[in-house]
């Protein structure tokens, strides 16, 4: 099972709290919207990631789980 951070681009209103809490994986573009690092969520950052998800004022940040298949 791998986890990924995803942003609902329509719900995101550039509040920027996610980048404050998770600077290792999220930076803001020149207009204040989040740029997410590619790849799966590293396990050591899971706590910060769930915090960032729950603090987003518009609930735009999500943590999705994908089942890894044998081929992956």
């Amino acid at each position: 099972m791998t986890e990924h951070l995803r942003v609902d681009r329509i719900a995101c209103r550039a509040h920027g709290l996610c980048a404050e809490l998770l600077p290792e994986l999220i930076e803001l573009d020149e207009w204040g919207y989040p740029i997410l690092a590619a790849g799966a969520l590293p396990a050591p950052l899971r706590t910060e990631a769930t915090e960032a998800v729950s603090v987003c004022p518009t609930l735009a940040l999500r943590l999705t789980t994908t089942r890894t298949t044998a081929s992956q």
């Binding site: 609902d8 681009r9 329509i10 719900a11 995101c12 550039a14 573009d29 020149e30 207009w31 204040g32 919207y33 740029i35």
Partner: protein, 426 residues
């Protein structure tokens, strides 16, 4: 395949959709359509097993969507068929300014498209067929008449007018329109083939794709693969406009070199470049582009895309960078204004391109392209990035000259017709 007899296939390798038009020169009404193609072979694929066979046939044919994304049609059918009471949407909205193929097809052979819709509806056991068309499109009457001519099929068919905006014909936008009356794209997941109209799985296909499907059902996958390439079998409709003496829609075998389509349209021999796929496609320089095959893989290898098969020829006395600035400004105005990177990024990209043609820097452009790409809820910003990036590459000489302080002499010229509201984009 016991109990199935597929019809004898037409001999012409590239006049398939438009077969008959070249002989009679008149649009096909129902009687002419039945004479030319016979009825849609719904009885050949009757029942649960018949539906599965039809999906297999489309799968084996390798038919890919002709609406821009090129997604394998068989796979879409299979995904939607797994759900309960799906909806079939015929995407007849041709909002692309440089494409006219769907209009041509629906004018000349509407019954082939509707056959395809009915066969698809049968394959996925759909409860309804909705034909989406831009509001005010004259095709509305043609289609309504064609639908009225036909006997009842596997599902009721109705017409749905769509607001005349560029992104309103995006798949999730059509679903959103039908569900809530708002024709703007939505976030995915869920995708329409999982949850669409009324929360049910929804199959959305371009009109040309369905016409091709109607032929696959009649003549089989092997016949379909008899022309075209391995990864893009069959024929495709191309619209050629711009610096050409005979603008219009032609049907060619997939894999045909771009140059062949340009010759059919009698393109200017000194044309400098061709915009492939649509205004959000990619520029390819001439004469290089002439030998590039009109197929998905080969075009992707050059950084371009087959898109909706539209080819716009740029004359020698024009500036590709200036045209691209106009395109990106148009695309910026067509943003649904739902996602930050699109609603702020696209105007910024347009400004950067305009700065270049004004003899300035546009220094942020390369970085901004990377930032805007892939960060919208739909692919609209990606199209703008693609056409801008291709312009920097194809018109690199012009870009260098402009950046060295030579403003563009072609500013103010408009070659691609871009209307927004009632204004033409300059």
């Amino acid at each position: 395949m016991t109990g199935t007899t597929l019809a004898a296939a037409p001999l012409d390798t590239h006049h398939r959709l438009l077969a008959g038009w070249y002989e009679t020169g008149t649009p096909a009404d129902l009687a002419a359509h039945l004479t030319r193609h016979g009825p849609a072979p719904l009885d050949v694929y009757a029942g649960q097993q018949g539906r599965a066979r039809l999906i297999d046939e489309v799968d084996r044919s390798g038919l890919r969507g002709r609406g821009g994304a090129g997604f394998p049609t068989g796979r879409k059918l299979r995904a939607v068929a797994q759900g309960r009471r799906p909806t079939v949407i015929v995407n007849a909205c041709e909002g692309e300014p440089v494409s006219g193929k769907d209009h041509a097809l629906l004018t000349l052979a509407p019954h082939l498209v509707i056959d395809g819709a009915e066969l698809a509806a049968h394959a996925v056991d759909a409860s309804e067929i909705i034909v989406c068309l831009h509001d005010g499109d004259r095709l509305g009457r043609v289609l309504a008449a064609a639908i009225a001519e036909r006997p009842a099929g596997p599902a009721p068919i109705r017409l749905q007018p769509v607001p005349p905006r560029y992104v309103a014909s995006e798949e999730s936008a059509l679903v959103n329109l039908l569900n809530t009356g708002d024709a703007r794209p939505t976030s995915k997941p869920p995708r329409p083939d999982q949850r669409g109209v009324g929360g049910r799985p929804t199959l959305i296909n371009n009109a040309e794709t369905l016409a091709q499907l109607a032929l696959v059902a009649r003549y089989g996958a092997d016949w379909f693969r008899g022309t075209g390439t391995q990864d893009t079998p069959g024929t495709t409709l191309v619209t050629v406009t711009g610096a050409v003496r005979k603008p219009g829609v032609h049907e060619v075998a997939c894999g045909t070199p771009i140059g062949h389509a340009l010759r059919l349209a009698d393109a200017a021999v000194d044309a400098q470049a061709v915009l492939v796929g649509g205004i959000a496609g990619a520029w390819l320089p001439l004469p290089f582009a002439a030998q590039v095959p009109l197929a998905h893989r080969e075009l992707a290898d050059t950084g371009a895309t087959l898109g909706v098969g539209a080819l716009f020829v740029l004359p020698a006395a024009a500036c590709g960078v200036a045209e691209t600035a106009r395109i990106v400004r148009y695309l910026a105005g067509e943003s649904a204004a739902q996602c930050g990177p699109c609603m702020f990024g696209l105007p910024a990209l347009a400004d950067d391109l305009t700065q270049i043609t004004d003899g300035g820097g546009g220094a942020h452009l390369a970085r901004r392209l990377a930032v805007v790409e892939g960060r919208g809820a739909c692919r609209h910003p990606d199209g703008a990035v693609r056409v801008a990036r291709s312009a920097l590459h194809t018109f690199a000489t012009d870009v260098r000259r402009h950046r060295a302080g030579h403003p563009c002499i072609h500013i103010g010229q408009s070659h691609i017709p871009l209307l927004q509201g009632n204004r033409s984009i300059r």
